[in-house]
């Protein structure tokens, strides 16, 4: 077993004439916590969509755990062990928080259609097991109190945590978080940082994280990729990224580059797919 979990080689995605992502290379090892940053419209979410099979790359290859993933369907990629959250929260709004997690937990339990239609003992046992998995994960994400509330009715911060719980229920090895702290208040952000580190330890996860909050990114990521106009313009440890002149020019701006200050939360955050 190699240490390399994800390998992206020369991946390009064009929409008509526009190259949203052009010839990027990324490599992530098992257990790493990596950040992906860049200005609005840089192509970060597009990278996630490519990794999770929502888009098929125009060029290039994506290997996950040594397997070529380019042409896999989204659900196959999830089953291979890669789960994600969405920038513009996508929960099953009419379902309860618990049911949201159960949809994902069902994935690792084998119980067929016929068995469920006939309500056999096997299907009932499966239901109990899935319920238990869901409750455990709701506990982990501190959502036990809202387990029976409709997902669409939850407060914003809770919805973001519920998305993470749902992603965890698929038992991923690589977790992709698209702006998990967007719209949260500073205290919620601090809690979230701690939570991400905790689940990473407890579930033995590798994490790739998109985030505009520099304090959060610099605080928890071991390595950072910087994307600008669909290209990776820098890669390395936070301390290096902070000093990189190209990154400062393209994204961080003079105030944040090289200076340990708290003003990093002031970046505009646009919400889209």
């Amino acid at each position: 077993m190699t240490t390399r979990l994800l390998e992206v080689k020369h991946v390009t995605k064009r929409f008509g004439g526009l190259a949203a992502v052009s010839s990027i290379n990324m490599a992530i090892d098992r257990g790493e916590l990596v950040g992906l940053i860049g200005p609005n419209g840089a192509g970060k979410t597009t990278v996630f969509n490519l990794l999770t099979g929502v888009y098929v790359p125009t060029e290039g290859t994506i290997h996950f755990d040594g397997r070529l993933m380019n042409r896999c369907k989204p659900y196959q990629i999830v089953r291979a062990g890669m789960a994600r959250t969405f920038q513009n929260i996508r929960l099953f709004r009419q379902l309860t928080a618990r049911d949201n997690v159960k949809v994902a937990a069902q994935l690792r339990c084998r119980c067929g259609l016929i068995s469920s239609l006939c309500r056999t003992p096997r299907s009932l046992a499966n239901d109990r097991q899935v319920n238990q998995i869901a409750d455990e994960l709701l506990d982990v994400m501190n959502l036990q109190d809202v387990a029976d509330a409709r997902a669409g009715d939850l407060a914003y911060g809770l919805q973001r945590r519920l998305e993470i719980a749902r992603a965890l229920a698929t038992r991923p090895r690589l977790l992709l978080l698209d702006e998990p702290a967007a719209g949260m208040n500073p205290q919620e952000k601090v809690d979230l940082m701690a939570l991400i580190q905790k689940i990473r330890r407890d579930f033995d996860l590798t994490v790739l994280l998109i985030e505009h909050d520099m304090k959060l990114v610099m605080g928890i990521c071991e390595r950072i990729y910087v994307l600008d106009y669909g290209q990776i313009i820098a890669e390395g440890a936070p301390s290096r990224i902070r000093r990189d002149p190209r990154v400062i020019k393209a994204y961080l701006g003079e105030e944040y580059g090289d200076v340990e200050s708290d003003t990093g939360t002031g970046f505009s955050v646009r919400t889209e797919v």
Binding site: T52, G53, V54, K73, P74, Y75, V78, R79, A83, R84, F86, R90, L91, F92, R93, Q94, L95, D99, K102, V103, A104, A105, Q106, L107, C109, C111, G112, L113, S115, S116, L117, C118, R119, P121, S123, N126, D127, V130, N131, R166, A167, T170
Partner: protein, 339 residues
């Protein structure tokens, strides 16, 4: 083991009860009302099965009449065209005894359900990639294609249709029994699906397909499964109709039929099984009971639909169910008031 014994006892009890009601209904109800009740049962099967696709899985199909037609014609084709040949070789299949009737009905049901299921698969696999309006148009077109094809097959009577099909459903006072056997079976299956964690995948597809994909749900498979399951039951409804009302023609399964079934699902509240049952009963019984207004049937339908969509866009029952829990809640709130 204990579970299966209980299950067996439960099923046997339900069958016995159903049989008793069936005998009672045949002997005591006026023929006209009896027919209306049977028709209600058939439309309940159609509406609850379409609810699996439109309500629970969130796809908008409006060609359910097509599967209904396939089931009716294939089932009737067995009884009218193929059965006489087969009976010559196999005396068991002859129509001169009650068990001969039952065996033939079961074969017709199997063939009709199978044919409708296969059609569902063939139509569903390519068209379920389409979303919203596009799927609606394709399924509507499919329903019409089936009707036109039937119109042009001389072996099944062309525009005249098949007339004088042996009324296998009615033999032995079992008419009510057969129809409501499948009503109960379908309701039980739908409910089990909705309550199992396996069934959550169907709701997930309805709620957000992209998110369902990203949660590991094989969305294509879920949609095709719902579509085929619904088609199978529409096929069964068709076989029952053909062998109860004994005359079928392509016009029995025209676009109006498809639209009425869709109306039932929307009216009842997409996703609600009880809603579909009540809406199907209401929309079938209403025009029959208000016979004098029959010409205004479609006018009343559309007015009603517009009114309901304006006041309750989620349908009468929304996603909710009317069941034991609702009564408990009603009783509790009622008690609260009196205290």
């Amino acid at each position: 083991m204990r579970f299966w014994v209980n299950r067996l006892l439960g099923v046997t009890g339900a069958l016995a009860l159903l049989y008793a009601i069936s005998v009672w209904a045949t002997e005591n109800l006026q023929e006209y009302y009896f027919k209306v009740i049977i028709l209600c049962g058939i439309y309940i099967i159609l509406a609850v099965s379409l609810n699996l696709v439109n309500g629970i899985t969130g796809q908008f199909s409006i060609g359910h009449g097509g599967f209904y037609a396939v089931g009716a014609y294939v089932g009737a084709a067995w009884t009218v065209l193929w059965q006489p040949e087969a009976a010559r070789a196999l005396p068991l299949l002859q129509l001169n005894t009650l068990h001969g009737h039952i065996v033939n009905l079961l074969i017709a049901l199997m063939l009709g359900a199978f044919a409708a299921g296969c059609t569902g698969f063939l139509v569903g696999l390519p068209s379920l990639r389409l979303r919203g309006d596009y799927l609606a148009i394709v399924t509507l077109g499919f329903g019409e294609v089936i009707r036109v094809v039937l119109l042009n097959i001389d072996a099944v009577g062309g525009a005249r249709g098949l007339i004088g099909i042996p009324s296998l459903v009615q033999s032995g006072n079992l008419g009510f029994f057969w129809v409501f056997l499948f009503v109960v079976l379908l309701i039980a299956i739908s409910r089990n699906l909705l309550q199992s964690s396996y069934g959550l995948a169907f709701l997930a597809v309805r709620e957000d397909e992209v998110a369902a994909d990203a949660t590991g749900v094989n969305t294509t498979r879920v949609k095709v499964t719902a579509f085929v399951l619904a088609a199978v039951f529409a096929g069964i409804a068709g076989v029952l109709y053909a062998h109860f009302f004994i005359n079928i023609s392509p016009d029995t399964f025209d676009m109006n039929t498809s639209i009425i079934i869709t109306t039932m699902v929307v009216l009842g509240g997409s996703g609600s099984i009880t809603g579909s049952v009540l809406a199907a009963t209401f929309l079938t019984a209403m025009p029959e009971l208000l016979r004098d207004f029959k010409e205004y049937r479609m006018v009343i339908f559309s007015t009603l639909l517009i009114l309901i969509m304006l006041t309750r866009p989620q349908g009468l029952f929304g996603h909710g169910e009317l069941g034991y829990a609702t009564f408990q809640r009603l009783i509790r709130s009622g008690r609260g008031k009196t205290l």
